[in-house]
């Protein structure tokens, strides 16, 4: 394979990787963007060469200076609100904390109705299910809350789940 073919293959490979990240944009917009990028690569390559023939290392250097293909699939810098991922994670943690409390309380009430003093065995074991769900939910919320501490929801999740765990342990002992 000669150098020129190899360079073309690498340019096409880069463009294919960009195209794979472009998402649901109309085809003509994708074509225009890829055409602009192809021109950009050639212009950048030419500006490095000052007359000499391009080598694969030159193209490698040009591509290394450009934004990675993945950046074309995300909103441009700043378009995604900073910390939105943490906010979502924090909100999820808070929902898990409060949700597991609610589910555990409902299940506890159900188990209390179903398990009469005379029943034993399998049904009696069900009394542990609400407690297990409650603690599993609170610990998950606590971990997710710590991971998203920088968001207000993360802080709220950590405080809520810690307070609920502490309160439950205090009441149980």
């Amino acid at each position: 394979m000669n150098t020129e073919t190899e360079l073309q293959r690498r340019v096409q490979d880069f463009l294919d990787r960009v195209a794979a990240h472009l998402g649901p944009a109309p085809d003509d917009e994708k074509r225009e963007l890829l055409s602009d990028l192809e021109s950009h690569i050639h212009e950048a390559l030419e500006s490095r060469l000052s007359g000499r023939k391009a080598a694969p290392e030159d193209l490698q250097a040009v591509l290394a200076e450009m934004d990675p293909p993945e950046s074309y699939g995300e909103p441009a810098e700043g378009q995604r609100p900073a910390g939105s991922g943490k906010r979502t994670l924090g909100l999820t943690a808070l929902c898990i904390s409060l949700g597991s409390l609610l589910v555990a309380m409902l299940l506890a009430a159900l188990v209390y109705i179903l398990v009469s003093p005379r029943t034993s065995g399998l049904l009696e074991m069900m009394t542990w299910i609400p407690a297990f769900l409650f603690f599993a939910g609170q610990i998950t919320a606590l971990v997710l809350g710590i991971l998203s501490w920088s968001s207000p929801f993360g802080k709220a999740a950590v405080i809520t789940s810690s307070a609920l765990i502490a309160l439950t342990v205090l009441l149980a002992t």
């Binding site: 963007l33 602009d36 950009h40 212009e43 390559l45 934004d67 441009a76 700043g78 900073a82």
Partner: protein
């Protein structure tokens, strides 16, 4: 602070692209290099090309294709009449905004001193 800066940069991207084109037509690579020179704005090709295509679609920018000495044809971008009006309006608003914020900051500094 970082979030505020990125939001501000985002709002200024289109403004900067239109202002560069108000000085005359330019092709993609040249335009990106000129904008990359504004280091505070951290503008790169992955933000410029989508904006150029959107501006063209919205009728603010037109494209002229010309043969290049190397590689694929160059696409030259220039402002339409609508684009020229748009950048004039944006510049006027920017001047007013800077003046208002400047006045506010001076007044606050006087009150604090």
């Amino acid at each position: 602070m970082r979030s505020w800066v990125t939001q501000l940069r985002k709002g200024l991207l289109e403004f900067c692209v239109l202002n560069v084109l108000s000085k005359g037509e330019s092709y993609g690579y040249e335009l990106v290099r000129r904008l990359e020179g504004l280091q505070e704005l951290a503008i790169t090709e992955s933000t410029v090309y989508p904006i150029l295509n959107r501006l063209r679609k919205d009728g603010y920018v037109r494209v002229r294709v010309a043969v290049s000495g190397f590689g694929p044809p160059r696409r030259y971008f220039s402002l339409t009449a609508l684009g020229t009006r748009r950048v004039q309006e944006m510049n006027a608003y920017w001047d007013d905004l800077c003046s208002s914020v400047g006045t506010l900051r001076k007044r606050d500094m006087k009150e604090n001193s």
